[in-house]
Symmetry: C2
Subunit: 177 residues, 2 copies
Amino acid sequence: VASQVSASWYSCSIKGLPLVRNLTNAPQSNYGRGGLSHLTIAGAVSHGMKEVEVWIQTMAPGSGTPIHRHSCEEVFVVLKGSGTLLLSTTSMKTRHPDEPHNFPISMNTTFTIPPDEPHQILNSDEHDDLQLLVVISQPPIKVFIYDDWSMPHTAARLKYPYYWDEECFQYNAKDEL
Amino acid sequence: VASQVSASWYSCSIKGLPLVRNLTNAPQSNYGRGGLSHLTIAGAVSHGMKEVEVWIQTMAPGSGTPIHRHSCEEVFVVLKGSGTLLLSTTSMKTRHPDEPHNFPISMNTTFTIPPDEPHQILNSDEHDDLQLLVVISQPPIKVFIYDDWSMPHTAARLKYPYYWDEECFQYNAKDEL
Ligand SMILES: [Zn+2]
Ligand SMILES: [Zn+2]
C-alpha cells in the first residue's frame, strides 16, 4: 500500500515536482492489470499536459494490452524485449474489426497506430519483459475496448478515464478534501 | 552524398515504408548543424503525423540546440549521456529572456519545456554523447531562434520549416518533378 501511495503521489501530483525528474527509481504501478507496469512520464491529469502524453510501459511475458481503439495518434518505440502488434486495418468501415495482421516487434523498432484502427500489443515472448515508450495525442486518452476481434465496433466499451488516469482523478479528488 | 540521399529517402518518404521500422541502422543526418545527429521517428512532413512528432537526437560534446522558443509542448527523455538545460522562465512577459536557470540533465531523466519559454540544451560533458528522445505537439515545429539571452523576444528569428523539415520539403518537391 505504501508504494501505491507514493506511486500516486509521484504520478498524480503536479505540485512540488522538480522540472528535471529521474525515472530510474520512479514508482510504477500495474493499475489492476496483470503483468503491466505503467509510468506516466508526462501526462494531462498528472502534469497538466494539454497536447501530448508520454508513458513507459513494461509487459511481462504473456501479458499485453486489451484489443482497443482510440481516435488519437499513438507512436511506440520498443525499448526492450520483443512481442507482437496485432492491427486490424479496415478502420470503422466494416461492422467489426477484420482478422488482424500480426507484426513482430522488437527492441529498437518503432511503429505508429493509425487513428481508430483496433489494435493490441502482446508480449509473446516466453522469457523477457517487453518495454515500450508510448506517445499519444489529445490526452487524456479515451479508449474503446473490444472483448475479441469479432465484436462489432458499436459494442466496444468506452473506458474513460483510463486505468492510470482514473487513479489520478481519485487521488486528486481525495487531495482536495 | 549517397548516405545523405538515403537519409532523405528514409526520413522523408512516406511511400513504401513498413509499418514496423528498425531504428538500429536508420540513417541520421546533422542537417548542417555541427555535432548533431537527428532522426525523425514519426513526423508530420515525413510520415503524415498530424498531432505529435517524435525525434531521436544525439549531440556531440560541446554541441547543442540554439537558444529558441516555440508555442508547442515539448517532452524530453535523456537516453544516454548528460548535459545542461538552460531555461528562462519569464515567458514573454519581459522584453527579452531572463538570465536562464541551469538544470543538470542525465541518462534516465525527463523534463518538459513550458510553451513559449526560451530554452537551450547543451552537451556540457567533455567526453560522451548526449542522446535525447524528443516529443513535440503541433508539428511541423515553428521555432524562433535567439542569438543570445539578451536578444528581445521580438527580434528572435522564425526558422520555418526547421532544419530537418526543410530537407524533406525539398526532397518531396524534387520527387514530384
Ligand atoms: Zn493504443
Ligand atoms: Zn525546444
